[in-house]
């Protein structure tokens, strides 16, 4: 990275939860990420913005090793959670994914009841007692601001819920396994504006306890909710800093053009 490039990637103050060092990601020879070095602050919302196909989602999926599921994916460099590499030989991937949860772009509730959806994760990890599960389900649904709307419909199919409710259900499902990090891959793209604002509100509540990294096409959303923002272009992290700096006085011309919507 050039010195100028390094200047445009700041390190947040305070506790660092996630980090990468010289991360390169290849899909069957195509390089999706180029030497990405960045630190993500704990209990803050970090937004990743940039045009489609520039590596933001791929980058996100490095933290919970979801890229392992893609054939032909190869990774160089380091990905760190609390300072330790997630690709260490001793790492239990299932446990990692418990600590680092993910919410996807299109809400993907299981075709089961609301209750069973939220209880899925805890059951996977050994929680069996009825009372315990009830408690976890209620706690998670409350944390996802969904409890009041579904408390009488716990046995109904999750697919009967609206889009926004389904996405909050997916968030509750992740919260049920008590993660430390929430990775959100364009969580609001499939939702209408009202549902989007509710999720943003939820994020601002959750960030008190969780580290949140959100990939979004909607840079206005990024400007509304995030504390830190990173601009990805063609696999490169062009600029990274406090959100107010990225959107008010970006350092790199490309960032400037992108946030002003002048991308040709």
């Amino acid at each position: 990275m050039t010195e100028e490039g390094a200047r445009n990637i700041i390190t947040p103050e305070g506790e660092i939860k996630l980090a990468t060092r010289d991360l390169n990601l290849y899909y069957d020879g195509f390089q999706a990420l180029k030497a990405v070095t960045v630190s993500i602050a704990a209990r803050r919302i970090t937004a990743l913005i940039g045009p489609s196909g520039c590596g933001k989602s791929s980058f996100l999926r490095c933290f919970n090793r979801m890229n392992d599921l893609i054939e032909g994916a190869r990774l160089e460099g380091e990905v760190l959670l609390d300072g330790r590499s997630v690709y260490d030989s001793g790492v239990d991937v299932a446990q990692l994914r418990k600590r680092v949860g993910m919410v996807f772009q299109t809400p993907n509730p299981f075709p089961m009841s609301v209750y069973d959806n939220v209880a899925y994760g805890p059951r996977l990890h050994g929680v069996a007692g009825r009372a315990e599960l009830d408690e976890v389900v209620e706690r998670s649904l409350r944390a996802a601001a969904l409890w009041e709307e579904v408390k009488d419909k716990l046995r109904q199919s999750a697919l009967d819920l609206s889009g926004g409710q389904q996405q909050r259900l997916c968030i509750a499902r992740v919260l049920a396994v008590e993660p430390e990090v929430l990775l959100m891959d364009e969580p609001c793209s499939a939702l209408d504006p009202t549902a989007t604002f509710r999720i943003e509100e939820l994020m601002l509540e959750l960030v008190q306890h969780y580290t949140i990294v959100i990939v979004t096409h909607n840079m206005y959303q990024a400007s509304r909710v995030s504390h830190y923002a990173g601009f990805f272009l063609l696999g490169e992290l062009v600029e990274y800093g406090e959100t107010v700096q990225i959107f008010e006085t970006p350092r790199d011309r490309r960032t400037d053009d992108y946030v002003r919507g002048r991308f040709g």
Partner: protein, 293 residues
């Protein structure tokens, strides 16, 4: 609507609305005729069968131990059930492996090729293979067991293909959600993928059931025998009467069998297959209603 430029796809556009309407009617007529050509033989077979078979049908014919079809019906049913019992777990497991676990590579390509080829092997070859392996080498003798094993091999490609298709229908997002919660691959398959692909898997089993009931050649050397004393198999090592074989022998070799009996047998066989199919289809429909996305 100018002349197409180089490289532009050439659309076939009618020159006038009237001409378009005429072409539409012509196409509709041609397609209807084609469908009729397909349907008519089936209909005529069924009509003839019902007409002639009904005459020979009677309770005594069905149940009489001497000439009746009871044993054959029972034999066919046992055969079908045992075949399904063998083919279903194997086929589903194979499909799960191919769909969920296998990494693409020469081995997997070879396996898929083998499955496709197996589907094209003539059923009599299966019969011979079954004779050599199950009847003789493994010493099952001419038996229900040998017949079911052979038949299971025959329908296996069917079950694998249909199951794989069903598994593929399960949206990727569901698997991703499961993995992202920390599930292992097997947990994901067992809790999310399989339950949601059951209807499709049932389709494969229904199809294999239909095949198993109606095929003659595989059981020719391995399971079936002809008898007029109507014995019901007592164990899997007993040979069986089977409707297809019974019909074959009646129609070609056995002397003095009345026409109406032959048609009645055919009718019963068709009814049995239809009945099995309907049962399986209704089971699938019930599964579909219970679990939808």
């Amino acid at each position: 609507m100018g002349n197409p430029q180089d490289g532009e796809a050439q659309l076939v556009i009618a020159r006038s609305p009237a001409r378009a309407r005429r072409e539409e009617r012509l196409a509709f007529a041609a397609l209807t005729a084609a469908s009729a050509i397909v349907v008519l033989p089936v209909l005529s077979i069924m009509v003839v069968m019902c007409w002639r078979g009904a005459r020979g049908l009677s309770w005594s014919f069905l149940t009489s131990p001497a000439e009746g079809l009871l044993a054959a019906v029972v034999g066919t049913v046992f055969l079908v059930l045992l075949t399904a019992a063998f083919a279903a777990p194997l086929g589903i497991a194979g499909a799960v492996y191919l769909s969920e676990y296998a990494r693409s590579g020469p081995l997997v390509r070879f396996i898929r090729l083998a499955i496709i080829n197996l589907a094209g092997v003539p059923s009599v070859v299966y019969g011979l293979f079954g004779l050599g392996l199950f009847v003789m080498l493994l010493g099952f003798g001419r038996s229900l067991l040998a017949g079911a094993c052979t038949m299971a091999l025959l329908v296996l490609p069917l079950v694998i293909s249909a199951s794989e298709e069903a598994l593929r229908q399960v949206p990727r997002g569901l698997r991703e959600a499961s993995f992202a919660l920390g599930a292992t691959r097997w947990q994901t398959v067992r809790n999310v993928v399989l339950p949601n692909s059951l209807p499709g898997i049932m389709t494969g089993i229904i199809l294999s059931v239909g095949r198993a009931a109606g095929e003659t050649a595989p059981i020719l050397f391995t399971a079936a025998f002809f008898s007029l004393t109507n014995p019901i198999p007592r164990s899997v090592f007993d040979p069986i009467l089977a409707l297809p074989y019974q019909l074959y022998v009646m129609a070609t070799e056995a002397p003095g069998v009345p026409e109406s009996h032959k048609w009645a047998t055919a009718l019963v066989l068709s009814a049995l297959v239809l009945g099995l199919n309907l049962a399986a289809i209704s089971a699938r429909a019930r599964l579909r209603r219970a679990r939808r996305w």
